[in-house]
């Protein structure tokens, strides 16, 4: 079995008395797309924030490419990137300027070529000179994805990347992600509230509920284990249980 590119062991985060993530352990293998599912407040975003070094875990460890995140932050983050519906980029800069800044930040040497390539790949030519403030939500999502792809990461964290996109663009983004994954062996941690998308995209899925992993496997395995018709029914079961418990 291939050595995992990411290994989270007994990852825990407490905010005072509230346990946001509770002894979560998982691995991502090279070229794998791992879906992270769970109702709001299940601990998905906190988990991703810990993996990105934005939140310090209360306990547990994170290793990527065999390195410990707590001691090798810079080397690890050089090979990792993320995109989320909930972030933005400097509004007064053009799309191209923003991508140039990111390229500098990650020390990319052939900046102009790489920025051009990514703009073409994500079909952003028509708005490459547009001020970011004036982008539509779909264009903004493409910009944050471009930012994530630009640095050619080995692991990509995608937090609801298609949430604000129309079905056509969302489909294009999914195809692109699959294509990138096949071409470069990219590993992806993916969250979405679109269950059909999760089934289509993920090689494996982890279900979180109240900060704990409650199910793990392929979409089919999880659906069969809980005797439900599809992933959406499994999601509803966990979401309702979480709401009743709180």
């Amino acid at each position: 079995m291939a050595i995992p590119v990411l290994k989270a062991s007994a990852l825990t985060k407490r905010f005072g008395d509230f346990v946001a993530v509770n002894e979560v352990s998982f691995e991502i293998r090279p070229g794998e797309i791992l879906g992270l599912l769970g109702p709001n407040g299940a601990g998905k975003t906190t988990t991703i924030q810990m993996l990105l070094g934005l939140v310090t875990p209360t306990a547990g460890s994170i290793h990527m490419f065999g390195l410990d995140l707590s001691t090798h932050r810079e080397e690890i983050l050089q090979q990792v990137n993320f995109s989320s519906t909930y972030i933005s980029m400097p509004q007064a800069l053009t799309v191209e300027e923003n991508l140039c800044v990111v390229a500098r930040l990650y020390g990319i040497s052939d900046r102009a070529r790489r920025v051009n390539d990514i703009i073409k790949k994500l079909e952003m030519e028509e708005f490459r000179s547009k001020i970011t403030r004036k982008l539509s939500s779909g264009q903004m999502t493409r910009l944050t994805l471009a930012k994530a792809f630009l640095t050619e990461p080995r692991i990509l964290f995608l937090d609801e990347p298609t949430a604000s996109l129309d079905p056509d663009i969302a489909d294009k983004i999914r195809s692109l992600l699959k294509e990138e994954q096949r071409a470069s062996g990219l590993s992806i941690l993916y969250t979405s509230h679109n269950m059909r998308e999760m089934e289509e995209m993920s090689d494996r899925i982890i279900f979180l509920q109240r900060g704990r992993i409650v199910a793990e496997g392929t979409a089919r395995e999880i659906i069969d284990r809980f005797g439900k018709a599809d992933l959406e029914e499994v999601f509803l079961k966990f979401a309702r249980e979480q709401r009743q418990a709180s």
């Binding site: 906190t46 990105l52 070094g53 939140v55 932050r73 993320f82 980029m89 400097p90 990650y106």
Partner: protein, 263 residues
Amino acid sequence: MKLHRITALLVRHLYLYRRSLPRIMEIFYWPFLDLVIWGFITLYLARYQSQVPGFVTFFLGALILWDMLFRSQQGITIAFLEELWARNLMNLFASPLKPSEFLTATMAMSVMKVTVVSIVMAGSALLFYSYNILIVGVWLMPFVLNLVITGWIIGVFTTSLIMRFGQEAEVLAWSMVFLFQPISCVFYPMEVLPTWLQMIAWVNPAAHIFEGMRTVLSGGASPLGNLAWAVCLNGAFLVVVVAWFYRTVAYCKEHGLLVRVGE
């Protein structure tokens, strides 16, 4: 005109004040500062009226130098606020960027701002008042460098507070530096202050620079002593405030504040 719509807007603003200490403080802050600064200037003029040769020279020089300190602080704090307003902090702190690199970039930005502002202010003073800042002579450069460093110290301190307390503390970006103005003795000598305030002013590096400026402009002794104190105090405070910034980043990561600071 409908009273209920006017009341709705009033209540909307009062809700803000109910939970926001910085907003309440701001109501008292500016009148208090105005009173303190203009009070000491009045005392200075009343006490030394006959002994102050060309106090316009003092005031214009002081104003230009104070603005350099102010712009230096703004260069740091506004650079951070720009990232906060753009919701770009996550992009930065999830990249390989180190806190030291972040600070160095903002300090470089502040130097650029100070350079541009200095040229504009010195040029304007020459054009409108025939006042040449270069009369400060060879001491001008070390004075300016020290004021820039004091601006960095206040800027990093303010940035740490905004990072820790979020957008509520944004107002500090513009107001914090003025808290240091009365004890920087910009427009009056340190001896005008009450003794207890003189002791506080003495540990403020900017106060030594403005004292030095007055010494030079009144054709007195060398300001080397003032400069030496300013360099030592700046060095010590810079180390402390950078360490505090690192501690704040760690605290914010511990409490998940880094990802919520823009909310």
